[in-house]
Amino acid sequence: MSDFLLDNAFVKVERCENSATVHLAGDWIIDNAVAIDSLMASVKLAAGDNPMFDCSAIGALDTTGAVLIRRFSDGCEHSDGAPLVNIQARHTKLLEVISCSPPPVSTEPDQIAWYLLPLLQAGTATVGAFRSGGRLLGFLGLVLMRLMGALFDLGRVRLVPVVHQMEVIGLQSMGIVGLISFLIGAVMVNQGAIQLAKFGADIFVIDMLGIGHLRELGILLTAIIIAGRSGSAFTAQIGSMVLHEEVDAMKTLGMDPIDVLVLPRLMAITICLPLLAFYADVVGVAGGALMAWIQLDITPANFLIYFREVITIDHYWVGIIKAPFFAAVIATTGCYNGLRVQGSADDLGARTTRSVVQSIFLVIVLDALFAIFFTSVGL
């Protein structure tokens, strides 16, 4: 007396007096895995206690199928996994490979409960910020030490990389720096003139342009462009060298990575940023002059006469003196983050992003400190 409790292409469950036999049939291969796996619950229910698995009618079998058979047999109520019977000769090896069920282990990195996650993130971020601030300061000190050493021992300065970096950082960014400065100068005059015209004071737009652009905007914009353009490049270049163990190779060859990688970049950017800032000042004022000519009918000659009258050289110096400091911040952050890359391509990306964010942030903070300083000394 027997009947089929469950009957489909892959599994037939046959129930006798007190035990059940599960007949496996069809192709137990990866293409059918999803369909077979979805039968598991109903098979378990139909088979009850102490079933046997009859493998004689299985067609093709691959390792995925073997894993599924093992899952079925482990899943059923049986003291030590349900036995497999009538295994075909061609399947024995495969079933042997998969026979023992592996212990359950996690396949994903450990995760904590969602409600603790914000706390954890806030904590890690705070600690991380202090740590990285400290490390950055330490790195700055190290770089300055090496720089002082290099100044007393000029043979250590690598001139060719310095010149190469100057080309990449300075010369090749003149286009974008010039364009942005020109537009900002023009926009400042354009917008300023509209507002100041309400007081009949539109001539003061030149004061505004001179002070605003020379003191703050020219250098700040240049520094931000260079931070985005060259700071990120520093991190990516040095970081990929770290990933390929090139930096380790350098150390074993007796070359100091700070001398080889950081100092040329630091020197090049410190030379280039003031020059670029000067260039940005000139182009920005030119943009403003052009807009003044178009919008307010102030000829360039008149513009220059008035500009020389109201804008003292102090404004220019206040702007330009900040450039080497910004340069040092950008180079240090970029190189520091590059050298701290570890492990994977993921980390390189994260470090590059962080480098740009950090250097722009630091440049703006430094600019604010300078503004306070110059106001209090009355410049």
Binding site: I30, P102, T107, P109, D110, A345
Partner: protein, 261 residues
């Protein structure tokens, strides 16, 4: 070993020509890969072993010639057929090529996720089974590839190559960078797995030990062609300066190859 040398050809390469610009790598190369065999490929550096592998799996487009896999020519396949045919083979790249942002187990699940919609617990079970098969220590299944040693990365990568139950396995220098004991263990693993799963293997290697221990047939690349493709004894007797140097040099003797064996 001659008992499983069949004439059932899985991969058939005819008149293959590959080139990078003016530099011709292969010209008029013919090769057959027989079902169930472990086919070793040797050749000096720069003879295009890896290029041949990449041409067969479709990463490099040949200049001319026919490559048939399972009786179908690669050049006649539609994009969809080409995508589906990729399920039929697994590739173990030289340095593992694991995805660095995923854990080892997730790496093994990538092909499953891409081609099927399986429940997560089945995928976990499959990933762990494949990792066990590849001899990967399971407590490290949730680690990231960057935390693993070279040998573990190879095993993880082998598990990923086996994820879709391929019939055809391409191994690019599987033992390069492993210590001799690790390499021997990996050789043994490959041999055992391939024989018990009935896989056909295309194995590029420099390692004489691997050739002797694992391969059923050895093809020697040189002069832009396959010089000879035969079992070890015949290849050793083949009269070509590079082949003689390779199989009868001091390293060959160290690998246990007997003179005039």
């Amino acid at each position: 070993m001659a008992d499983h040398l069949t004439d059932d050809i899985v991969v058939k390469v005819r008149g293959l020509k590959t080139a990078f610009g003016p530099h011709v790598v292969h010209d008029g190369l013919d090769m057959d890969l027989r079902r169930g065999e472990i086919q070793g490929i040797v050749g000096g550096s720069g003879t295009g072993k890896s290029v041949l592998l990449k041409a067969i799996i479709g990463l490099i487009k040949p200049v001319s010639g026919r490559i048939e896999i399972g009786g179908k020519s690669r050049s006649d396949m539609t994009d969809e057929e080409d995508r589906l045919s990729r399920r039929d083979w697994g590739v173990l790249f030289q340095d593992g090529a694991l995805f660095s942002s995923l854990t080892v187990a997730q790496n093994v699940q990538v092909p499953l996720r891409e081609h099927f919609h399986m429940p997560q617990d089945l995928m976990d079970d499959l990933a762990i089974s494949k990792l066990t098969m590849a001899g990967f220590p399971l407590d490290a299944a949730a680690k990231f590839p960057s935390d693993l040693s070279g040998g573990m990365r190879k095993r993880a990568s082998l598990a990923r190559a086996l994820a879709l139950d391929p019939q055809l396995l391409f191994l690019d220098e599987p033992t390069a960078g492993l210590d001799p004991i690790g390499a021997a263990a990996f050789d043994g693993l490959v041999h055992e797995l391939c024989k018990s799963l009935g896989l056909t293997v295309f194995l590029v290697t420099h390692d004489l030990d691997t050739l002797v221990r694992v391969c059923d047939r050895i093809a020697v690349l040189g002069d832009q062609k396959i010089l000879i493709n035969a079992p070890l004894e015949e290849v050793m007797a083949f009269d070509h300066p590079w082949v003689q140097e390779y199989f009868h040099g001091p390293r060959a003797r160290a690998a246990g190859i007997k003179e005039n064996g």
